[in-house]
Amino acid sequence: MRKQLMKGNEAIVKSAILAGCRAFYGYPITPASEIAEAAAEFMPRTGGVYVQAESEVAAINMLYGAASAGVRAMTASSGPGISLMQEGISYMAGAELPCVIADITRGGPGLGNIGAEQGDYHQVVKGGGHGNYRTIVLAPHSVQEMADLTALAFELADRYRNPVVILADGFIGQMMEPVEFPQTATATHLPEWAVAGTAASRGNLITSLELDFDKLEKHVRALEAKYKVAERHEARAEEWMTADAEIVLVGYGIVGRILKAVTAEARAAGIKVGVLRPITLYPFPVVQFQRLAFNARVFAVVEMSTGQLIEDVKLALNGSRPVEFLSRVGGNVPSHDEVLALVHELARRGGVTQPTQEEERVANAY
């Protein structure tokens, strides 16, 4: 199959349309705007709808409307815009409406900057909106995965009637790599629950409101049960050179790429190191972590945040193995050499962490 060079942000739109998406409602923001631009070009040419909304708040509520009408719909934004969408995401999860949201992350908090950061993990993976709900979160690390996981996102959104977020950093959105697309487009069908302005759908109701305590509890329990099914079936991770790994490097998105490069070099130096790259951040690939813990002495999380993914890693390992941490923020990326130095250090220590002077000083103070 022939490949073509394409930006990750453009690949998302083309894959979405092939996956049956026929609506894009969004608001521009760097570094996600190419998604809106590609949607503005291609949606009208493929029988779809494109609207530039007045805000991210409006955009997510337009998604609520499109999804209610039974149309596969998507939006795209970056951290600050996703913050504004949290209200609508909660409503959509509550009303059990499918949609796909691409978050091409940037630096925060506040206006931050437009560099790549992974500080959106908590607000996306843990749910930044109100109430007991989850979003399924997919984390591509290449342009090809931007395309492939977008198609998967629409499938999962429909299967679970729930918002699905594609969490990618600015690098994955902005970079160009060879990519190939399926040559057949997905045919979609009007869901039986949709409100489509037809006689057949007249009795349908889309709402997240339930006044009765017992009925709302039942609804929330049903959502919880649905998420449990997703946890059993949808967790995905890529393992790279983990078969005999004593040191397991953990990272998602662009970091996963760096970890592979470092692993290749460290392996050449005889260090038994591998990479575990979560592809779904929710459901979190807990089983893979527990399995690798049999052989691994230590896990090292590399993250472009002050420590968000690491919390899920620690929960998955449940204290069974030490978890090291390397972090860069503000738009900076952990360098190859920084990570390689950590790997050499872990190999030298035999996986046991020595407290730093500062940590000892603080500990002694108590």
Partner: protein, 507 residues
């Protein structure tokens, strides 16, 4: 649970067909609404249901309910029902109408919902001229939550959050939504009516029907604002509350038609071509919901998206020498406008054309517009682990700041291609090769100094020596559309190769 009395209740009066016969979504008292005695919502509901009946659009109707006392529209209306977040009904309605253009979409909203938290959504739905009908029930107060002030609360009016009465100095003035929206060019019809007496009520029924009819006829955005009594919060009897609408509220909120473009649009709508594929149609201020190519066949999508295999170039992988190791890690840096990104794109595209694994990563955003620009390009026979080039084996520095920013990162035995007559002595490092030439001037000699990037790319290609010329030629033609520039860039590339070879002779 329905009470026994409720179970025995029989509806005697004529009921609009667009109401449920029994309000089964309601917990109890399923024969009556949840509205207080004297509330305007029940009356407005009935008028809407009657209008839906009269227009024969029950099956097509989608009711978007708000947050507030009107939240339970789905208890009563036997139509498609969607309940929206506070203030967002116009955004929800926008997408429902665009998704299902044949449907009749009603956004039902109160004054807190529409004029406060949803002020952006209503303004922009109106400004886009969405072909929807908004029923705006204005009772000058937040009723559902117990009587807090709204943007529509009258001056001096007491509420739980204006205990001494609304004060213009601190709380602003009552917001006149109909007047505000009527300044826009897109809306088709905006009218304010009231429920203050029987005459007003009759006019309200006519206005609501008209608002719906406008949508059925495709004329665009209609908003009917209804001044409506709230005896409970106003602490008045139902009769007093009705009179208060007429005698007090109406003084602040003048009744009347504020915008009516239905006549001109009806005339223009008649001129619309019957064939939706026809390109010329008069603008009637309502969004053209017809896609450029209405619903193309699924098998056509890959071609439309430009991803159909048969449309993709075959490439020149066969021309790639199979004995040469290729692992180019290139950092290209310069001022914005020097063609840094295009340099990288041509290189990456040529690599892909030659069957290699490639990646191209830009520094993106305002940096590109305000000064420096750089990108990372990798070409390899093996799959590329990281697209970040932190230790390039070729640095292309199109100016001195870029050289100084990245020169220390270049690997041993790597290359620096520098745009300058003199290579700064303090940047010279053992084991790093340098090609320093005034590429801008050399490009100028070729006809345009903006081709300096391609002269430098030519030099890089000659140094790397791996890529087939056919791949480079094809990549250039795919990325540069202007034939004049293709011709110039081809000469620039050739000149760059020549300059590198000449530099060897000099050594």
């Amino acid at each position: 649970m329905p009470t026994e009395t409720a179970a025995e209740y029989v509806v005697a009066q004529a009921r609009a067909r667009s109401f449920y016969e029994r309000y089964e979504r309601k917990e109890d008292l399923q024969h009556q609404t949840h509205f207080c005695p004297g509330c305007g919502h029940g009356v407005v509901h009935k008028m809407i249901a009657k209008a839906i009946d009269d227009l024969g659009v029950q099956d097509r109707t989608i009711m978007v309910g708000p947050v507030g006392c009107g939240v339970f529209t789905y208890y009563y209306f036997d139509v498609g029902n969607v309940q929206a977040a506070h203030g967002r009904a116009p955004a929800v309605a926008t997408a429902m109408k665009r998704s299902r253009p044949e449907s009749i979409v009603i956004s039902y909203q109160g004054d807190g919902d529409l004029s406060a938290i949803g002020s952006a959504e209503i303004l922009h739905a109106a400004n886009r001229g969405e072909n929807i009908t908004v029923i705006f029930v204005n009772n000058a107060i937040y009723s559902m939550t117990g009587g807090q002030a709204a943007p529509t609360t009258l001056l001096g009016m007491k509420s739980t959050t204006t205990p001494n009465g609304r004060n213009a100095a601190t709380d602003g003035y009552p917001l006149h939504v109909s007047e505000l929206l009527s300044t826009l060019q897109a809306p088709a019809y905006i009218e304010r009516v009231g429920l203050g007496d029987n005459k007003q009520i009759a006019q309200t029924a006519r206005a609501i029907k008209r608002g719906l009819e406008n949508q059925v006829r495709g004329l665009g955005f209609s908003l009917i604002e209804v001044l409506s009594p709230c005896p409970t919060i106003w602490k008045l009897t139902p009769v007093e509350a009705q009179h208060w609408v007429r005698d007090v509220m109406e003084k602040e909120f003048r009744l009347g038609v504020f915008c009516d473009r239905t006549k001109e649009r009806t005339e223009k709508a008649d001129l619309r071509p019957a064939d939706p594929g026809s390109s010329s149609h008069p603008s009637v201020g309502t969004p053209d919901l017809r896609p450029v190519t209405p619903n193309p066949a699924l098998e056509e999508l890959p071609r439309i998206l430009g991803v159909a295999e048969e449309d993709l170039p075959e490439g020149n992988a066969a021309a790639l020498a199979d004995n040469k190791a290729i692992d180019l890690e290139v950092r290209i840096a310069g001022f914005g406008g020097q063609g840094v990104l295009l340099f990288g794109e041509v290189l990456a595209e040529a690599g892909l054309d030659a069957g290699l694994e490639v990646s191209w990563l830009p520094s993106y955003g305002p940096e590109m517009r305000s000064g420096t620009s750089n990108c990372h390009v990798r070409l390899s026979r093996q799959s590329i682990d990281s697209p970040l080039v932190t230790a390039p084996n070729v640095l292309v520095a199109m100016n001195e700041p870029s050289l100084r920013k990245f020169d220390k990162s270049v690997r041993a035995d790597g290359w620096v291609i520098y745009n300058g007559q003199e290579f700064p002595a303090d940047c010279v490092r053992d084991g790093v090769h340098v090609l320093a030439l005034p590429f801008t001037e050399l490009a100028d000699e070729l006809g345009d100094k903006r081709a300096a990037n391609m002269v430098m790319l030519g030099a890089l290609l000659e140094i790397a020596g791996a890529l087939p010329q056919a791949s480079i030629d094809d990549a250039l033609r795919r990325l540069v559309k202007n034939p004049r520039w293709v011709e110039l860039d081809e000469r620039a590339l050739a000149r760059g190769r020549e300059l590198y070879r000449e530099s060897l002779v000099e050594v």
